[in-house]
């Protein structure tokens, strides 16, 4: 059910935009940039309107920066945003055509530590999706709050799709059973490239293997890679799933529902101290 409440934000250099959807309080982003806390011009908190020239320059610049220093996650994020317009439209249409995806698009859930009920998830039985996700977060020492906010997508709905893609990434690790070491990340990237068609995923999928040693490359190309690609192509759109309502569901059950086969081998997870 759409609640139409018109807001009017006046952009200082451009014309008025009307944002006619409810902006969920949880969408007000975190402390990443102080400027946008007080007020913002643009279609959503954190939005920076850019011209085509700026987007082109950004995609080239961020690509170079990300290649030079792969730890610059913000550059990978910017590259994804500036090159992913067509893929995002396709993803959004896929979500709209799926009833659960449509619910995700209207209700706009966000995956952050503040919205997750961690104690409840910890009390769930082993093998349930919520428990396994929590275990994944602990084993690999990651947090869902480290995802950069979307800045350069000029459509509010597509920006949400992009944000959802970023937040679902960790859940994908859980679903595919892949750790966060290089081999696991490349496998997830191959899956995402096949699923979403985002150019940034494709780029990561091609360039990621360059950093693997010979034995890992072999396991990637012989078993892990083909499995990831096949699963990606066959699986239901992973962004369409309302994960927040499925914490109690068993992981195997969810995998079957999504058409994801269990992985042929599991790369050893590095326990981060």
């Amino acid at each position: 059910m759409w609640l139409l409440i018109p807001f009017r934000w006046i952009n200082r250099r451009r014309h008025c935009f009307t944002v006619s959807k409810v902006v969920c309080v949880q969408q007000l982003h975190s402390s990443s940039t102080e400027f946008t806390n007080i007020h913002y011009d643009g279609l959503y908190p954190g939005h920076i309107p850019t011209t085509a020239v700026q987007k082109a320059l950004l995609s080239i610049g961020s690509g170079v920066a990300a290649l030079q220093n792969p730890y610059r996650h913000d550059m990978v994020a910017v590259l994804g945003e500036t090159t992913g317009h067509l893929a995002l439209i396709k993803l959004r249409d896929r979500m709209r055509n799926d009833p659960e995806g449509y619910a995700v698009l209207t209700e706009r859930p966000r995956i952050r530590l503040s919205t997750l009920d961690l104690t409840k998830m910890a009390s769930l039985p082993d093998g349930s999706f919520g428990r396994e996700y929590l275990r994944f977060l602990e084993d690999n020492d990651v947090t869902p709050d480290s995802r950069a906010d979307v800045k350069f997508v000029d459509n509010e709905e597509l920006a949400y799709v992009m944000q959802r893609y970023r937040e679902v990434h960790d859940l994908l690790h859980t679903l595919l059973g892949m750790p966060t070491n290089m081999l696991g990340e490349v496998a997830v990237k191959w899956f995402e490239a096949a699923q979403t068609g985002l150019p940034m995923c494709a780029l990561g999928a091609v360039l990621g293997p360059l950093r693997l040693n010979a034995s890992r490359l072999q396991s990637l190309f012989t078993s892990l890679g083909p499995w990831a690609l096949q699963s990606g192509r066959r699986a239901r759109c992973v962004l369409s799933i309302f994960y927040e309502r499925r914490w109690e569901q068993s992981l195997e059950d969810l995998q079957r529902e999504l058409n994801i086969e269990p992985p042929p081998i599991i790369p050893k997870a590095k326990k981060k101290t």
């Binding site: 946008t36 700026q54 920066a65 910017v78």
Partner: protein, 321 residues
């Protein structure tokens, strides 16, 4: 004590002249009848193309420079393609400081001007000493014995540079740079506000502010403080982005500023908004002639300006007499 009393007197004069100075510094003009009920929080000023309350501008500028401090020098090189070094060299050349001069570098941040200053006076001193040695070789014994007495009693005055900045992060980066360059003698680092300098009157021979004055909320106050801390005969020098006169160059410059610079900011420093503020604040700064009259209003004499790179940067200079 005297400094703060003087400041209060100046503020009272400023309040009564508010309507005149308000338009000169770009603060939005208010009708005279509201003059007595206004407070600083209600007055607004520009922050780039945005309008913000005056009290907020200083805080936001502080945040900008806190964010960019680590990558400040790299970004300067990237944005100006290294030309900012030439601009700063030209400032030193125009300054032509003599050994023994005392420099106050306001908004000196990472210390570029002060390092150049110390280097310049050091090479000037070396030149002087070499000249003294050369001419000393044909002196009579009377002159030589005279020179012995002067050396013992009164050594040559050392030049000092004081780097003053409101932002602690920028000073931190500057100190680290000084250590890595090996420059320690004659340099001191002070946290201070250009509108209210923590120095006594008549202290410095040269006051410089390079690419800093457009970030000050009350430019007229900063100019008055400059006049106060300079010795009589002291020189005020301000390097700042200004208006480009050539229309073709202006269009290229605008296109480069608005398209390229925020992108560079995002890619190199991960901060689009700070560099968007930078290019907008340049557009909000008064033109060369306007700024020249502001300096004259503050009480400086022989005010001149020189355009660099077609007006992209202007060097304003005035004397306290």
């Amino acid at each position: 004590m005297a400094a703060s009393v003087r400041l209060l007197v100046r503020q009272a004069i400023r309040l009564s002249h508010r309507n005149i100075t308000v338009t000169a510094t770009g603060v939005s003009a208010r009708p005279p009848c509201r003059c007595f009920s206004e407070s600083a929080e209600e007055r607004s000023t520009h922050f780039g193309f945005e309008t913000v309350p005056e009290a907020e501008k200083a805080k936001r500028v502080y945040k900008v420079f806190e964010n960019v401090a680590q990558k400040y020098d790299i970004m300067n090189d990237a944005m100006s393609l290294g030309i900012h070094r030439l601009w700063k060299d030209m400032l030193l050349h125009a300054m032509h400081p003599q050994p023994g001069a005392r420099l106050l570098d306001v908004a000196g941040g990472t210390g570029d001007i002060s390092f150049r200053f110390l280097e310049y006076v050091r090479s000037q001193r070396e030149r002087q000493q070499r000249r003294a040695v050369r001419f000393g070789q044909t002196l009579s014994w009377q002159d030589i014995s005279n020179s012995y007495s002067t050396i013992e009693t009164d050594g040559p005055r050392e030049s000092t540079a004081v780097v003053c900045d409101i932002n602690k992060e920028m000073l931190k980066v500057g100190k680290e740079k000084a250590e890595s360059l090996g420059i320690t003698a004659g340099l001191s680092w002070v946290v201070g506000d250009a509108e209210e300098l923590p120095f006594d009157d008549d202290q410095f021979d040269i006051y410089t502010i390079a690419f800093g004055i457009r970030n000050v909320t009350h430019i007229d106050q900063a100019l008055q403080e400059a006049l106060r801390v300079l010795k009589p005969g002291g020189r005020f020098m301000c390097l700042e982005f200004s208006k480009v006169t050539n229309p073709l160059l202006a269009r290229l410059y605008d296109a480069y500023s608005f398209q390229m610079i925020p992108v560079l900011g995002e890619v190199i420093a991960g901060d689009w908004k700070s560099y968007q503020y930078l290019v907008e604040s340049i557009r909000k700064f008064p033109s060369q002639e306007e700024f020249k009259s502001m300096i004259e209003d503050a009480g400086f004499y022989c005010v001149q300006y020189y355009n660099f790179t077609g007006g992209v940067v202007a060097l304003h200079s005035g004397f306290k007499l």
